[in-house]
Amino acid sequence: MNAASLLVAYAHRFKKQVKTGFAYLLILIVSFPLASAHARELTLINGDDTRHIATASLIPQADTTFTLFDPYQGREVEMRGFEFRDFLIEQFGDIPPALHFTAWDDYDVTLSGWDDPNWFMIVEEDGEPLTLRSRGPLRLVERDYGARDINSLREFNDWVWMIRSIEARW
């Protein structure tokens, strides 16, 4: 019995499961854009000034594409985004000493040291806009993370996912 006949035999035996699997797959493909329905905007807070920016409007700003090994996905990924330092200057007039991030998954953190051209705000991955499922719609990554151990996720704790708001801390 060759491989093809084995595959047919298994397909016949698990007819119901195969059908269900295909159905799920079809639904996934069709519904993928629907999954991005959330997280459509980024909130920027600078003192009393609060502004909301559509995440879709940030996609055309992406002017840099690079390939990077994403330790969370365990593979090389083509990322597209823009230099975060430039974005901060554009939005806040200068680079704040610290930023307070809030993510869609309620994670929040305050980090400093953003006057660094190594940080990129990513909006697309492998040609697709980031969604919550791909830990988007906005994600901060370091373009060059040097000799850090890619098997140790704690080395990449500063990467901020699912960014919902950025507050300047002066």
Binding site: I27, L28, A35, Y72, V109, L132, M162
Partner: protein, 383 residues
Amino acid sequence: MVSSNEPFEPPASVEKRSRRKRHYINWLSLSLMSFMALMLLIIYESRWVYPEIQAYFSQTGSLTGQQLATRSRAYLQRAQQTLLNEQPTSAENIEAVSLDLDLAYGLMDVSVYHQEYACTAPSILIVGSLAPRLSQGDLSAFAASGELLGPINCLTHIEMDQLDRRGVAINNFSESTRRHNQVLTYTSMIIFIMGLLFWLMHERQLRRTELATEQKLAWMKRAMRDPLTGIGNRSALHQEVLARANESLGLILVDVDFFKQYNDALGHPEGDQLLRRLANLLQKQLGPEAKLYRLGGDEFAAVLPCPNDPVLTQYCESLLSGLATEQFKHPAHPDNKCVTLSVGAVRFVAVEITFAYAYEVADKALYRVKTAGRDGWQISASA
């Protein structure tokens, strides 16, 4: 080229001394090296960090501080609660469920879970498909809630397994800590004892050296002293003059008149006794600044600070008047007198003339006294 003035030292003695010095340095070096090794060991052990334990316990408040599986499960359970409430299919609830499912999906879809846990991929498939099926009405809220049990179980399994791994890491850490502590304790003790031992050896060597130096100094002191009278000898006189270069000094030579007859009449023990008495008398009359020496037999010398000849004259007169007061009996004196002295003196500056010349001049003065009938003093013109 070796200077002819340097004392000859046998090669064996030099070798022995250099070997001793080498040992001395070695004990000290070994001791210091032991203590340094101990310090290095302690520093190394104190900075030792078990990397696995750091991976598990140094993450509080950071992105991976709480397990992604735990956070993902929390969103699935919240979605489940929403699905089981009274209005599960309202647009608002569907939106909330959809958001929770997406968040759960994002937190679960990481490489490490795919690699380690086979249930990850099918679970993600279910979580990803649920929202559209609900919104299209293909699935009841109750059924959707039921379907979430699989992914929740998967995430629970991941969490439990991660906890198990954490437990193993803790055990390993504990075991390693115990082992390191033992190594540190025993090694420290051994190195410390070695260091102490080397230090004691060094101390012993040091004391031996000190003792040898003390003995040598005592021997040198004895070699410079006249055993009969306790005052210095001829060698000590030379040392004294050398040590007082540039000073204006007086050299007084004293000779006991008819000392042989004294010995013949009263015996040598009495002669010795007379010499001791005379030494005391000289010291008493010339003062504490005068240094006395016995040059041999019945001849004494005194060296003392002397700025000019009149002072030297005073010293000589004081000497003879003191002797006259003491009235030491001399039964064999040819002139039926008590013990008398012949004194010759000179003033000199050690740098300007050699001591040998000063001695010669003073001796000539003494000789003149002798030839003039003894019991008197003369000083030569300053040398």
